[in-house]
């Protein structure tokens, strides 16, 4: 039974967002563009949901960075994807 809970917890954690994008006041930013990147490849862009969250799994080749942008906000430096999850990124106007 305990192992079932363990598996359930693992499944739930693997489908919850790993990245949150917020503004300087901490409000979620919807539809921010998130591009997972390795040193040499770009993955297809993803967009944040209404909670500013997006699910990005580690992949092969290894994802090293996230490029996060939204029109009207300043470019954010590339985000190190190897930080503990979830990662919260603040976009500035």
């Amino acid at each position: 039974m305990r192992s079932l809970f363990g598996i359930l917890a693992l499944v739930c954690s693997s489908c919850s967002p790993t990245v949150f994008v917020v503004d300087e006041a901490g409000r979620p930013i919807e539809d921010a563009k998130v591009i997972p990147m390795s040193r040499s490849f770009n993955w297809p862009p993803k967009e944040t949901d209404e909670n500013g969250g997006v699910l990005v799994h580690q992949d092969l080749p290894t994802i090293d960075y996230l490029q996060i942008s939204k029109a009207g906000y300043r470019n954010h430096p590339l985000v190190n994807f190897n930080l503990p999850k979830p990662i919260t990124v603040v976009l500035k106007k």
């Binding site: 040499s40 770009n42 960075y65 300043r74 470019n75 954010h76 430096p77 590339l78």
Partner: protein, 463 residues
Amino acid sequence: MSDITYLPGKEPHEKEHRLIFRNVDRKGWNPKIKTYLAEGGYEMAMKALKMKPQEVIDEVKASGLRGRGGAGFPTGIKWGFIPPNNTKPVYLICNCDESEPGTFKDRYIAHQDPHQLIEGMVISAYAVGAHVAYIYIREEFPEAAIILEKAIAEAKKNGFLGKDIQGSGFDLEIYVHRGAAAYICGEETGLIESLEGKRPYPRIKPPYFPAAIGLYMAPTIVNNVESLCHVVHILRMGGEEYIKLGTPRNSGTRMSVFQAMFLRGTVAVPITFQELLYDMCGGPKDGRTLKAVIPGGSSSKILRCNETFQIGRGDDAEEMTFWQLPLDFDTLAAAGSMAGSGGVIVMDDTRRMSWVLNNITHFYAHESCGQCTPCREGSTWMKKVSDRIEDGKATPTDVQVLEDIAYQIDGKTVCAFGEASAWPVEAMIDKFRDELVGETSDDNDTRSAERIAQEQFLSSVPQ
């Protein structure tokens, strides 16, 4: 050609016209002279030795052959530059340094059809009056060097090299010289310095045009492996027929090698990018689109696959999409790039351009010979700035800085390496500025660790 069969999986595409690569990956073929002679090998050398040297030069001139080493200079015209009143020995050098990133065509010839090259060299040496010729082969081709040495020994044993070749009265010795493992050894004057046993610092032109002042300060013709092989086919077909394989200013076939999608062949110019990348190479992987192509080795300017170009001038100007561009010298030059060494590098939409840029700048920073300041310093700075962009530590101004550095190198150096290192950077920024700037941020701190420490120290000192 129909009776020729190739190894499984190595069959040419129906659109390929194999001239120089006829025997590459061929079933039952080996690099021995016996195999080569069984198919009429060295017959063109014998034909040439019965002609007058000037007649051979005229045939090559008539063929419109343009050098396949990168610059596309007309071979027959180059041969004609040897001073008419010359009293010094003339040398022929085969440039088999093949170190342009993305290019690996000459290696196939050296490995699989060395006698085609030797025959081309016999004809060319006879035409220009050289009795000593060198094959300068890159250090990283050790096996090819051994194969070529064996082939030279065979040719000598069979009377196609050495004294009084086949009773013609013409003498020729060919020596294989292993290169110094540097890209700059492929630049013809750097190559000559290296062959003389020195550090391969390119010589300034003028006055050191090899055809006038080359090896040991004597007239020297430097030609690429593929260019020399074409000479055999020009003699067989005649210059006029050879032109028909391509167009008058872009005659013959052209060997292209591909990275990303793989194909080796001699493609009769003018084949278009559409035919080449989709019909012959099968297009991108499922779900992906092609993003950019570097058409002639890393020194050529990158082209976007969604670009349109104005080709030609005035009333003859024609609008062409990238896909309609034929891969010939003139069209690619009109599109702002070059056919270069024939190494086509293809990138799909997953490729990160900052990484491509960084890869290229690392290569040139490592390979600059260091003789002139704009190239030595500029290539290193370009590497440092592109490191920052790729690491996500750059500011938008860095992209501008990088572009400025490239334009400071361009046209201000001893040899064409300067342009070769600057052009890819200029073009990459021109074509993919948004993508590069998108990976930068004003919030990044580009100060070095030393600068930060210095500023901290200075601010801690009471005023």
